[in-house]
């Protein structure tokens, strides 16, 4: 196991900065930098030096946390030094010279998890927070951290428990004078509960997009201005733009934050028949990028007639999610009324002047909102939760089928208990004791 180092306080100038080392060599590295006092949890004023040239780096407070009683469960050293960027850089660089590795994103969390210092649910939420690329994704992750998913699921689970209570009571207390239940009412409850579970599960499509980013491919025949459009959309001179058709040989991706939603634009090589080996490879990648994307921007050159390659691409993408974009609206040759594609509702833009880009962005956003990405509602972003909800949903469907063919209660209950177990993995398990308590609170049981 390596020893990792990272600045734990925010970057930039501050009065103090905390640099954290974690791993088997953490204390040894601190010793070589001048630490004498290694007692557990005792801050020691230390003159930090760089052993390479005995350069004095800073006067710092250094605290050792011995394994396993530390944040990560490993030996941890915390160096509180002065918050100047130069000092911080020197201290971190020195630890690297002495064998530490720069910590990757979330690596402290990962070590804490594997050493049992935090739980899986916390780690999952922390991981989502770290991985979140945009405000909207951060909001979703923190909503889940605060238990909003459990809260959304809890009323559904309560209703499921109520159904189970009624059916179990009918089985267990046949000699008690219990009110007869109506299968239709039970059926209606189960329809509602499974609709609720299904609705939550369905938000995963959007939630996943929010977590992982929405892939948008920019496609078109060579020299329609895809790379120019790409650069305008990502607001950086990222792709090389020339007048030579086929300049873009490889796909190129850039993530941006489009009003809170993470979007990854991919510039692709223009699709045409070619004998150039490298270009052929690029075109193959283009096809793959188009296949993998959530949305395709089909770019046409509005200053020329549509060629066979344009028509091919329009045909190929006819059944996918796409937006048709007519570029070069700034040119005098631009013919805004090309009637043959009017029905595709093309968006006219000029990558060069920026004209029409705002319209294009809002068209992209409205497509995404149709996807269900709406900041107002809770989205499932975790594949495990999605899997559990799908399983619960399947069991609820099974129970309804058993109820419809008038199977006895114990048969209907078997899938209902399964569904409850699956939901319990998200919101907390419901024990037999819980169900019995509910029965005794609901019905007057017992001779």
């Amino acid at each position: 196991m390596s020893t990792i180092v990272a600045l734990s306080t925010p970057r930039g100038r501050g009065a103090l900065a905390v640099i954290r080392l974690s791993g088997p060599d953490a204390i040894a590295i601190a010793r070589r930098m001048g630490l004498h006092e290694v007692e557990d949890r005792r801050a020691a004023l230390t003159s930090l030096v760089r052993p390479r040239d005995n350069e004095k780096l800073d006067q710092a407070l250094v605290t050792c946390f011995h394994a396993p009683h530390s944040l990560t469960g490993e030996d941890v050293v915390e160096i509180s030094c002065h918050g100047s960027p130069a000092v911080i850089r020197n201290v971190v660089d020195t630890t690297l010279e002495l064998g530490a590795d720069l910590a990757g994103p979330g690596e402290f969390t990962l070590r804490a998890l594997s050493n049992g210092k935090i739980n899986l649910a916390q780690a999952e939420a922390i991981r989502d927070l770290i991985a979140a690329q945009t405000d909207a994704a951060v909001k979703q992750a923190s909503r889940q951290l605060s238990g909003e998913l459990s809260n959304a699921l809890a009323p559904l689970k309560e209703r499921l428990v109520e159904v189970i209570v009624v059916l179990e009571s009918a089985l267990e207390f046949v000699e008690d004078d219990l009110p007869a239940f109506r299968a239709q009412e039970i059926e209606k409850e189960l329809v509602d509960v499974s609709a609720g579970v299904e609705k939550l599960a369905c938000t995963y499509a959007a939630g996943r997009l929010l977590q992982e980013g929405i892939q948008i491919a920019i496609a078109g025949r060579p020299n329609v201005g895809k790379s120019s459009l790409f650069n305008s959309l990502v607001e950086r001179e990222r792709a090389i733009v020339t007048d030579i058709p086929g300049t873009t040989r490889d796909t190129l991706s850039e993530a941006i934050d489009l009003e809170g939603i993470p979007v990854i634009f991919t510039d692709t090589a223009g699709v045409r028949e070619t004998t150039d080996g490298i270009e052929t490879l690029g075109i193959e990648r283009t096809r793959r990028a188009i296949g993998d994307s959530d949305l395709i921007l089909v770019v046409l050159d509005g200053s020329t007639e549509l060629g066979p390659s344009d028509h091919d691409l329009l045909n190929q993408t006819a059944h996918t999610r796409r937006l048709v974009v007519r570029n070069k609206s700034d040119l005098p040759e631009f013919n805004a009324s090309t009637s043959c594609i009017a029905e595709l509702q093309p968006i006219n833009v000029s990558a060069r002047t920026g004209e029409g880009l705002a319209t294009l962005r809002s068209a992209i956003l409205s497509r995404l909102n149709n996807n269900g990405i709406d900041e107002g509602s809770l989205l499932i972003t975790n594949a495990r939760h999605y899997d559990l909800l799908c399983n619960a949903q399947r069991e609820l469907v099974e129970a309804r089928a058993a109820l419809r063919v008038k199977h006895s209660e114990e048969v209907v209950l078997a899938p209902l208990h399964n569904a409850l177990r699956f939901m319990g993995q998200i919101t907390g398990e419901t024990t037999t004791e819980d169900i019995l308590s509910e029965i005794f609170a609901t019905f007057c049981i017992g001779k």
Binding site: P68, L171, E172, N391, E395
Partner: protein
């Protein structure tokens, strides 16, 4: 050490747990002393004169399959048999019977006296004799000392029993019988954590003073289902029970006098069973109910005593008399014995291993209400297990442990020893995760071989069991292979009954899963050489196939969800040192000392967050070893 008499196994108490324990131990070859306060009250039914019921009937069948005696005794003395839940699936059907209370006692005593190696002794055990921390014998109140390596304590409500009626309180184990106070002190001296529980019983009425015409008769089954796999026919003449109801007047009177009830005056500290509430509890907690159901259960052929089931109470005796007379049909009725509440000591069952032996004192076993359970059947199955294991312990043989996947007994024992009790524990079918697999009719298939291997199942029972298994196998093959074809005469009629065309050819086992297809119909389609088919055989085979799919799905779901259950928790794990666990969770874990993640998962109050913390810790621990 000198003893007046030396046995291999001593059983204290001759109730439903003690009788099974003594019978099993003796038949396993252990010289067994059964010590009871009163030899005339062996196998006494302290509360209602009935055996079985949902899940409880399953337990009796399991006891029978293992070679226990309760099923045979009730079959010989039962005066009304009913299979409950007949309208539901086979997994939740369960036999129940009213007993002739006196004949049950007599038959139980006869059975025990006919058992070799079994020695009945009357007396009161007041202390244990230990030798180097291990059990060596017991001391009686009259000074006698009995030696034995193993002792089964099955003292029921006698352990420090305290009886309440109205404001009157007196020490007793049952109405009119002394409590075992010294034994409770002895257990405390050994360091056992002792708690307090409560139960109650209704008044017994003089049947000659009841207007029976005011009640609805509840007859037994036309074709009674016995408890024992060995029983072919019943001996006792069958009787009716009767159903009646309380009135608002009864409820109002109870509410007006609730301060007279020791349950509500604060005198009773012990926790009572929620599923067996007193009439006081019923009218207070469910005040919107205008009437509560009552059962009039005759106590036997040779007595006028009638048990007023549903009217458990600890109100003053004279008030009980007034209340009973407010019930339509009981206007002239006289009470023979008033109802009462009883508080008694129990020992935390988490002291026990799966063999029901205490970890604290090797050789000491606990069975029945001392472990916090309620019910004759719950007591009997523990008695059987404790008696078997006490004998095996003295014979240095491997103990018998039953798993919850294979038996209700396994469910009960695991629940007790892992989770403890905070109210009297009763078995329910919903406590069994694999309820669909644990049927009353397949208890033999699940457990008989254990009884045989131990030596409790004799040759004739074993032959009967094997013959039945062969018949079932033959039937299974027939149901899979015999097909109903379009050319067959019955095809059109059966299609019409089912409501859809059955296709060109369908096996009988597939046909049986269709709605509206009864066992009788399937029986009529079987080839002539298999007939006549015993109804119970056909039902068992059809039940297997009815539930097979659901059980597979459930096993898959459970395997998926609980894949970490086998992860071991090292014995010396310091839960307090696991960061992220709250104090409350740490205390729960420390108390229960789970040995696997699965055991921890089933503990009450463990949150998903706590469980994932524990899981992450255990995974990391396992990696480091």
């Amino acid at each position: 050490m000198s003893f007046d008499e030396v046995f291999d196994v001593i059983v204290i108490g001759a109730g439903h747990a003690g009788c099974e324990a003594a019978s099993a131990a003796a038949r396993l070859g252990a010289q067994t002393g059964l010590i009871t306060l009163n030899l005339d009250l062996i196998g006494q039914m302290s509360c209602n004169p009935a055996i079985g019921g949902i899940a409880k009937g399953h337990l009796v069948r399991e006891i029978d399959a293992l070679g226990g005696i309760m099923g045979r005794v009730i079959d010989r003395t039962g005066i009304q048999f009913r299979l409950l839940n007949r309208s539901r699936g086979p997994a939740v059907q369960s036999p129940r019977a009213q007993a002739d209370r006196m004949r049950y006692r007599a038959e139980m005593r006869r059975t025990l006296e006919a058992t070799s190696n079994l020695h009945l002794r009357q007396g009161k055990v007041v202390d244990f004799v230990l030798d180097h921390g291990k059990l060596a014998g017991v001391v009686l109140e009259d000074g006698r000392r009995f030696g034995s390596q193993a002792v089964v304590v099955a003292t029921g409500t006698f352990l420090n029993g305290l009886i309440h009626t109205g404001r009157r309180t007196y020490s007793g184990g049952r109405a009119g019988e002394p409590a075992a106070i010294e034994l409770s002190e002895a257990l405390k001296r050994l360091g056992f954590p002792v708690g307090r529980l409560k139960t109650g019983t209704p008044p017994r009425l003089d049947g000659r003073t009841i207007d029976w015409s005011a009640f609805e008769p509840q007859p037994g089954d036309q074709i009674p289902v016995p408890f024992s796999f060995a029983t072919d026919s019943l001996e006792q003449k069958q009787i009716n029970c009767y159903i009646g109801y309380t009135t608002e007047q009864v409820h109002d009177t109870i509410r007006a006098n609730i301060a007279e009830s020791p349950l509500y005056s604060g005198k009773i500290k012990g926790v009572g069973p929620r599923y067996c509430p007193s009439i006081e509890d019923k009218v207070v907690k469910f005040s919107d109910k205008s009437r509560h159901q009552l059962f009039l259960e005759p106590e036997g052929h040779d007595t006028n005593e009638v048990y007023l089931n549903g009217f458990s109470t600890s109100l003053p005796a004279e008030m009980q008399q007034d209340l009973v007379r407010m019930i339509p049909g009981l206007e002239e009725t006289r009470i023979i014995r008033p109802g009462y509440a009883i508080e008694y000591d129990f020992v935390d069952p988490r002291e026990l291993g799966p063999d029901l032996q205490t970890a604290r004192v090797p050789g000491l076993f606990h069975a029945g209400q001392i472990n916090g359970t309620t019910g004759y059947e719950e007591a009997a199955c523990q008695g059987l297990l404790a008696g078997i294991n006490a004998a095996l312990y003295t014979q240095r043989r491997e103990s018998l442990r039953l798993r919850r996947e294979e038996s209700y007994i396994g469910v009960l024992v695991e629940d007790l020893i892992k989770q403890g009790v905070d109210e009297p524990y009763r078995i329910f079918t919903s406590r069994a995760e694999y309820r669909l697999a644990l049927r009353y009719d397949n208890a033999d298939e699940r457990l008989e071989r254990y009884g045989r291997e131990l030596g409790l199942v004799g040759d004739s029972d074993w032959n009967r069991f094997n013959a039945r298994q062969e018949r079932l196998a033959e039937l299974r093959t027939a149901l899979d292979n015999v097909r109903l074809r379009r050319a067959d005469a019955q095809h059109a009629a059966v299609s019409g009954l089912v409501g859809s065309d059955l296709g060109d050819s369908i096996s009988l086992s597939q046909l049986a899963k269709r709605p509206k297809v009864t066992a009788d119909l399937i029986a009529s389609l079987l080839p002539a050489d298999l007939k006549p088919v015993a109804e119970t055989d056909l039902n068992s085979v059809l039940a297997d196939s009815l539930y097979a799919g659901y059980l597979d799905t459930q096993r898959a779901a459970v395997a998926k969800l609980y894949q970490h259950d086998t992860l071991k928790i090292p014995r010396q794990t310091a839960f307090r040192s696991i960061a992220g666990l709250s104090n409350e969770i740490v205390e729960r874990l420390d108390r229960a000392q789970p040995l696997t993640f699965g055991e921890a998962r089933r503990l009450p109050g463990l949150t998903p967050g706590a469980l994932s913390t524990l899981l992450a810790y255990l995974s990391a621990e396992q990696k480091s070893f």
